[in-house]
Subunit: 594 residues, 2 copies
C-alpha cells in the first residue's frame, strides 16, 4: 500500500502515529524556511509541513513541488499550533511532518486551473474531463450519483423488487423516437436496435410472473441534444408491478421520493401539494402538464364575464366555450416588480406565440378609470376583481383566443413572469401527480387522430371506453409525476387485455395485423394468462438535476457527451476502417459526406 | 390492490383473516365435490379450496379453471386438517376458502408445459421466454442474479468504492476483439463503438482523483457465441484503485470472494489453495493458466531422467531444455478406472493435437518388465517411480515434445482424464492467483512479437524491464484469478508512466505517434500527474455460472441471445427500413445478402 490513510482520516487521535499519505499538491506555501502543502485526495485535505530541520532532502524536493503534483510523503502526525489553526480544513487540528517525500509522477502545464471556480469554458473542461473531475463541484456530482444509485437500488431491493438487466441489443421499434442501430456481422443485412426503454421487456417479465421488477436502465434515443436531455444514452429508474392499480403505484413512488429526498438532500417536500390532478385540470389551471406548484399564480377562467362585454371581439371569443378560452393571470404588487420596458417586452413575448396582444392593467385606487371600463358594467368589473382577488397595485393579465394556444402560452407566460420575480425556492420540491392523459391526439398537419403516447396503456373503463365516439376525450390510466416544472416520472396501468389492445389500434384505423407485426412478442405473450400490471419510469438524470440544482444535464455525468453528441475527450464518434464496415456488410453513403 | 398477500406470506398467524390472493393456477384437483388449486406466484404456493357449500358461483368458475390461468380469489384463511397436510408446500399449515373468484385473463394453449422438468428444447423456451420464466429453475436464476447484483454493489459501496457509469457510446479500438459499431446521424460518416470494457475510462477516473471506482459494467464484443460467452452484451464487475500495489488488490478480491460465497451460496472455498503462482509455474505444473485445483494430478518434469535414456528420441528431446518438455502425469488406481477402449481413445485424443503418441504404462508388481525397461537403468526407473510417487496399479502417462505443445495438451489431457474419473466436487471453489504474465508473445504465423494482452499494464521493474533483450521473458504486473478451470478475474497494475508506456510500444517496433493516435485520451491524460493505479474485472456471468452450477451461460440471463446471437422472442436483429439507414448515412452491401 502506498498510503496508510487518506487525506481525511487523520485527526487528533492519530497524533504521533507514523503515516504514509499520497495525493495531489493543492496549495503550496513558502513561509520563510518552512514549506506548507495542502495535500488533496478524493476525501479531503491534510496539511503537510516540510521543515529542513526534519529532513533536508525532502524539504529540497518540496521546494520544487507545484500545484497538482502527485506526491507520497511519510512521517508523523502532530498537533497543529493553535495560532496556525486553519478553520477551512476539515482536518485542521493536525498536520503531518515529513522525513521522506517522493514525486509519483510528472506533468506538463495543465490546460486550465484545477479549482472550484475555474473560468475554463465547457469545451476545454470536457476535452480534459479527467482534470475537470478533480474539481470539487464535479467530484461532488460523481459522489452524489454513486450514492443516489446505491440508495435507489437498495430501496427497491428491500421492498422485494427484483433487479433484472434487460437486453441492450434488441429490435427496432421506430414508432417512437429514432432508434440507434447496430449492424449485425453474423446476420448480414440485419440490424439490432438499442432500447429506447425496456418497456416491452418489463411487461414480458410480468407475464413471466416476476411481479415486482426494477432496474436502473440505460436507454437510447437518437434525438437532438438539449440542456435537459443527454445525447446518446441516458438512465431511467424503471419499475413494473403486477396485480396493482394506480393507487398502489402512487404509494410506492411517494414513499420512495420521501425517502430519497430525506436521505440524500436537505430539500423539503411540499407534502400538502403532493396530490393528484387530471391532465385537463393542470392545463386549465397552470397551462402545463408539469406545473411548478411552488407558487400559485393560477390561470383564472373569466369567459363568462367577458361574454357579457360590449366589446364584440371579447364576447365573440367567449361565445365558443369548447374551442376558446379567456384566462386571467394575476401578479401581486406590480409597482415593485416591473418597468415600462418590461411591460413592452411582455407584449413582444406573447406576440412570438402568435397572440394579437396581451390585455393587462394595474389595480389602482381609481380603478373605475380602467381601460376596460368601456366594455364592462361596474358589476362585471367587480366580478373580475373578486374572482382574481385583486388588491391595489396588483396587475392582472388577460389572454383570449383558441383554447390550446391560450393554455399553452399563458402557462409559459406564468413561468416567464416567475423567472423575473423569482418566487421559487430551490430548497422546496413541489411534486404533483398528473393523471388521465388523453389517449389520442389530433395531428396539426392533417387532423388525423393517432396515439398520443405509447399504445400500451389501459384506457379508462377498458373496452367500454370506446363506446365514446369523441376519440379525443377518451383517457388512459396514465400518469406523470411533475416536480418544479419538470416531468420526473411517467407511467401507466398497462393494457393487458389483448382484445382491448387490438380495439385501441382499430379505433385509429390500424389493424390487428399491425399490432402482430410491430409488437409480436407482446402480442404473442399476451395470449397466455397475463396478469394485470402497471409501472413507471423515473427520468433519473433530470431528477438528479433537480436534487443537485444543476441547470445542465451534462454536469450529472462523469463523462458527458457534448451538445453535438460527441465525446471530445475520446474523439467519438470517429471514422472507422473500411475493413470494419465490410465485415458488417454496410458502407457509408459517400454523397452524404459533402 | 388486487391482493392483500402473496402466495407465500400466509401462515398460522393469519388464520380466519380475510384475504385476497392473485396468481397462476399451478395444480388443479377435483376431490369429489371439492376443487383444490395450488395458487402460484413468484414467492411460492398457497392451497385454495373451492367448496360449493362456501360459494356455489366461485365453485362453478373454478370447475373451468385450468393450469396457468391467472385468477383472483377472496375469503378466509383456515387451518388445514392434519390428514390433508402437504409437506411439499411451504405454506402447508393453512389453506384459503373462497367466496369470490375471478379469472383475470384468458389464454390459448401454451407451446410447452410450465413445470420444473420441461422437455421443451431451448429454441422453444427462448422464443417464449416469458413463459419459461415461470419455471422454478429459470426464476431461481433471475432471483439469484438480482441478489448477486445487490450484494456486490453494496459490498463495494460500503468499502468506499464509487460507482461510476462510464459511457456506452464510445470510440472504436479495434486492437482487441471486434467492435460493435453505431452509425452517427448527426456526424455523417462517423461511428460510435460500444465499449469492449471501460478500461480507458476507469484509468481516466484515476487521473481524475477518484481513487476507488467500481461498476457492474455492460461490455460488448462482436465475437462468435459459445457456451461460456454470451452474444452481444455481457457484464463485468469492473474495479480500479489508486495508490495500490498488487497485494492490496488481492486483499480486496479475496475478501469480496469470501463474503459473496458465504452470503449467497453453500459452497466452500479451499482457502489453503487460495494462493498465488506465476504463469510459468501454472503452465509447468498444470498445463493451464486457469488450473482446476480441486484435484492434484500435477505434471511432473522428467526431462533430466529421460536425458539419460538410451532411446535417442527421448534423449534428443530432453537435450533442448529451453525449447522442449517431457512431462509425466499420474492417475491412481487405473484398474478401477479405464478400459482398453478408453486407452485407445486417449491416443486418439492426443493425436488430434498433433502428438505422435502418448507413452503410458501401469505400475504392476513386476514393474521391472515395463516397456520402458530397455531404455532406462533400474536406478532411473526408480527415480521415475519416486518422483511421480507411483504405487501399484497407478498409471503414468508421458508426453515429450516442443514445450508449448506438451504443456497445453498435457493440461487439456489432465482435464479430460478428470472428466472421466469425476474427481471434482461442485461444492468446492478452488481459487488461485496466476501472476507475472508474459508481456509479449510471438506470432505463430510470422514469428513477429507483439503485446500478449492489452498494453496498459506495468512491466515488472518498470523501464528497467526493457534492459532484458529476451522480450518473451519480460513479465507484466498482471494477474488472473482462476477458479475451478475458469478464469473469473483479470487485472493488472497499470503503466501510469508515459515514458515506460511509450518504451513498451517501441520495444515491438511501434511508435509514440501510434500510442498518441490510438489511445489519445490516455496519452494526453497521462501527461498530467497521474497516480499509480491498478484494478481488475470479474467476468460476472461466468462467475455466476460457477456459483449456480450452470453449464450454459444463457441460463444466467433473463432474456438471453441464442447461439446465433439472435433474440428469437423479439426477432432481433431484423431488417430495417431504408429510410432509417438513409438518415444514418449508410447502406447495406447488397452483394453480401446472397
Amino acid at each position: 500500500m502506498l498510503r496508510t490513510h487518506t487525506c481525511w482520516e487523520l485527526w487528533k487521535d492519530n497524533i504521533w502515529e507514523e503515516v504514509k499519505l499520497c495525493g495531489w499538491v493543492s496549495n503550496w506555501r513558502d513561509h520563510g524556511w518552512i514549506i506548507f502543502i495542502d495535500l488533496r485526495d478524493r476525501y479531503g485535505l491534510t496539511q503537510i509541513v516540510f521543515d529542513p530541520e526534519d529532513d533536508k532532502t525532502s524539504w529540497e524536493k518540496a521546494d520544487k513541488f507545484r500545484s497538482e503534483y502527485v506526491i507520497q510523503i511519510k512521517w508523523k502526525v502532530r498537533s497543529r499550533p493553535e495560532w496556525q489553526e486553519n478553520k477551512n480544513l476539515e482536518t485542521w487540528k493536525i498536520e503531518v511532518i515529513v522525513n521522506k517525500a517522493k514525486m509519483l509522477s510528472k506533468s506538463k502545464t495543465p490546460p486550465f486551473e484545477i479549482d472550484e471556480f475555474t473560468k475554463a469554458n465547457e469545451e476545454i473542461r470536457l476535452k480534459h474531463r479527467y482534470l475537470d473531475l478533480r474539481r470539487k463541484p464535479v467530484l461532488d456530482n460523481v459522489l452524489f450519483r454513486s450514492k443516489f444509485l446505491n440508495f435507489t437500488r437498495n430501496w427497491f431491493s428491500q421492498k422485494d423488487f427484483l433487479e433484472v438487466q434487460t437486453p441492450i441489443f434488441t429490435v427496432s421499434s421506430p414508432e417512437w423516437a429514432r432508434d440507434y442501430l447496430i449492424p449485425s456481422r453474423i446476420n448480414p443485412g440485419k440490424f439490432y436496435a438499442l432500447p429506447q426503454a425496456p418497456q416491452q421487456y418489463k411487461q414480458l417479465l410480468m407475464v413471466g410472473s416476476i411481479d415486482k421488477y426494477f432496474q436502473v436502465a440505460p436507454c437510447f434515443r437518437d434525438e437532438d441534444p438539449r440542456a435537459d436531455r443527454h445525447a446518446c444514452e441516458f438512465y431511467q429508474i424503471d419499475c413494473e408491478m403486477s396485480f396493482v392499480d394506480q393507487k398502489d403505484i402512487f404509494e410506492v413512488v411517494e414513499s420512495y421520493m420521501a425517502d430519497v429526498v430525506e436521505a440524500l438532500t436537505s430539500k423539503t417536500i411540499l407534502w400538502w401539494k403532493f396530490h393528484s390532478m387530471t391532465y385537463d385540470e393542470a392545463m386549465e389551471t397552470y397551462g402545463s402538464d408539469k406545473p411548478d406548484l411552488r407558487y400559485d399564480m393560477e390561470l383564472v377562467d373569466v369567459m363568462d364575464i367577458f361574454e357579457k362585454s360590449t366589446n364584440e371581439i371579447f364576447s365573440g371569443i367567449a361565445k365558443y366555450k369548447e374551442q376558446n378560452r379567456i384566462k386571467a393571470l394575476k401578479v401581486t404588487n406590480w409597482d415593485n416588480l416591473f418597468s415600462k420596458t418590461q411591460m413592452k417586452n411582455f407584449e413582444k413575448y406573447v406576440r412570438q406565440y402568435g397572440a394579437q396582444g396581451l390585455g393587462y392593467f394595474q389595480m389602482k385606487e381609481d380603478w373605475l378609470k380602467w381601460p376596460l371600463n368601456k366594455f364592462f358594467t361596474e358589476e362585471d368589473l367587480n366580478e373580475i376583481i373578486s374572482r382574481t382577488d385583486l388588491k391595489v397595485w396588483d396587475v392582472v393579465f388577460f389572454w383570449a383566443w383558441e383554447k390550446n394556444t391560450v393554455l399553452n402560452y399563458m402557462g409559459r407566460f406564468r413561468i416567464h413572469l416567475e423567472s423575473l420575480i423569482g418566487l421559487t425556492n430551490k430548497d422546496i420540491l413541489a411534486f404533483c401527480w398528473i393523471t388521465d392523459f388523453p389517449m389520442f391526439s389530433e395531428s396539426e398537419i392533417d387532423w388525423s387522430i393517432d396515439f398520443e403516447h405509447n399504445p400500451f396503456s389501459m384506457p379508462k373503463w377498458w373496452l367500454s371506453a370506446f363506446e365514446n365516439k369523441d376519440l379525443l376525450s377518451i383517457k388512459w390510466v396514465q400518469y406523470d409525476l411533475s416536480c418544479n416544472w419538470f416531468e420526473v416520472l411517467s407511467g401507466s396501468i398497462r393494457n393487458h387485455d389483448i382484445e382491448t389492445l387490438v380495439k385501441a389500434f382499430e379505433m385509429v384505423w390500424r389493424t390487428e395485423e399491425e399490432v402482430k407485426e410491430k409488437f409480436w412478442a407482446m402480442y404473442e405473450a399476451f395470449q397466455y394468462w397475463v396478469p394485470p400490471h402497471g409501472g413507471f419510469a423515473i427520468g433519473m438524470d433530470r431528477f438528479m438535476m433537480i436534487l443537485k440544482d444543476e441547470d445542465n444535464i451534462r454536469e450529472i455525468y462523469a463523462f458527458p457527451k457534448s451538445g453535438k453528441a460527441q465525446d471530445t475527450m475520446m474523439n467519438a464518434p470517429s471514422i472507422v476502417d473500411k475493413a470494419q464496415l465490410d465485415e458488417l456488410h454496410i458502407e457509408v453513403k459517400e454523397e452524404d459526406l459533402n
